[in-house]
Subunit: 281 residues, 2 copies
Amino acid sequence: MQTPAFVPPTIGVFDSGFGGLTVLRALIARVPQARFSFIGDTARLPYGSKSRRTIARYAAQSARFLVEEQGAKYLVIACNTASALALDAIKDAVPSSVSVIGVISPGAEAARNASKTGDVLVIATDATVQSHAYAIACRAHGLRAFEKACPLLVPLVEEGWTDHPVTAEVIRIYFDELNADAAAQGLHPDTLVLGCTHYPLLRPIIERVAPANMRVIDSAESAADALLRQLRFDLGAPPPSTPSDPVLQFFATDSVEKFERLGSQFLGRPVGSVGLVDLGG
Amino acid sequence: MQTPAFVPPTIGVFDSGFGGLTVLRALIARVPQARFSFIGDTARLPYGSKSRRTIARYAAQSARFLVEEQGAKYLVIACNTASALALDAIKDAVPSSVSVIGVISPGAEAARNASKTGDVLVIATDATVQSHAYAIACRAHGLRAFEKACPLLVPLVEEGWTDHPVTAEVIRIYFDELNADAAAQGLHPDTLVLGCTHYPLLRPIIERVAPANMRVIDSAESAADALLRQLRFDLGAPPPSTPSDPVLQFFATDSVEKFERLGSQFLGRPVGSVGLVDLGG
């Protein structure tokens, strides 16, 4: 019996901006043969300071674009805030045949596999923290999570200060607060979840500043692992691992220039031209 | 002949967020009898990283709300980015009987009155700097302007680090770059324009870090002066300066909670309840 020919799936990847390109990068490494369509809702970023209602409306529009206009059969919500606040709204906005994968649940699962004490720290945007989505997902895996909003980290990454003394100092201050607050609650955290797609670019500094032996979980990598498991399940076999040049298409709702300029740092390869899409509003 | 009774005007004040409350504060100090209606387009902030086309569309929606639903006869665009990129779009969106005042031109005029060397520095958001609106307005007043984007300052203010060593260090770094670049172009600046409504909260640090004798211009104060001149012209007399409790109404397109929590720092008095407005999009 012959294995049926592998038909590369179309994978839609959505973020409020271009931070989600760190997730796309992890996806490409795992399924290089796929066709990827990425949209950044740059006209309305950042989602991190907006309400659930608004985020759900915006995210559903992008999800429909990826499914209806780009033919995506898989959707990866490469935005912690949208995963935290709008995953159900996104699932409701697309046909049930489309698999929708966020970054929160895979991140919590990876934390469970990494943590020995069962106590984890999560750093993220304001809205992600206020949703307590990571704490809830961690609790479902038997973990206790302590979450902290670090609103200066995204602007520092976007300023290009990914290896800068000011950034190291800001992270040190955030960690001092984080450790003091976690200790006051009797937690003994040994695992740190990077709950924002910008943070992988700060991983070297974070690992320098974090307490020794702290395991760092990048939810971008965890989400890509989750997609790979889903593909394997749907195909009945792992997708072929032959090296390939992925087919990549990029869209943004605004700020195409900034996307093109900063995107390559996140993607780890040049972002070609970015199409401008009007989702209304 | 009796002076006709003073009818307090309705003044609409618009910002992408709540930074424009520093402008409202300056307006209240000058025309305490007026009725003020303030809208912050918080669902779509920050404007600073968005394109002219998008900013113009958003700003026109808010301007129409203030005129059509709130009855504003005067509009103060308390947002440097919108003043820089969308002043004409806003004027086109409302009846010509409505006076529209931005922050850029008044800021440039105040700089002309302050500067002896004719060379001024302007710090602002990315989009304001890229528009070169201050440089153009300064040139119209016979000044040479050197503009610099300082994208970390708004997040630092919103983190509440208005008097923090990290903020002082960031401002020092920005000033070092600013002074070096201005000197390389042969400029001898003696005046600094705060080209963002968040920056007045950093004025004490900025004045500590800035070179001695640098005059600091707050464009919020300059815009309020411009409105007062317009009122005086329209009324044929200065509005009465009797102390009064202004009538204040606040609206936001999202994040009412954040507006209420942070707004009072900018306004210098408590912000009462904030109405949620849906402008679409």
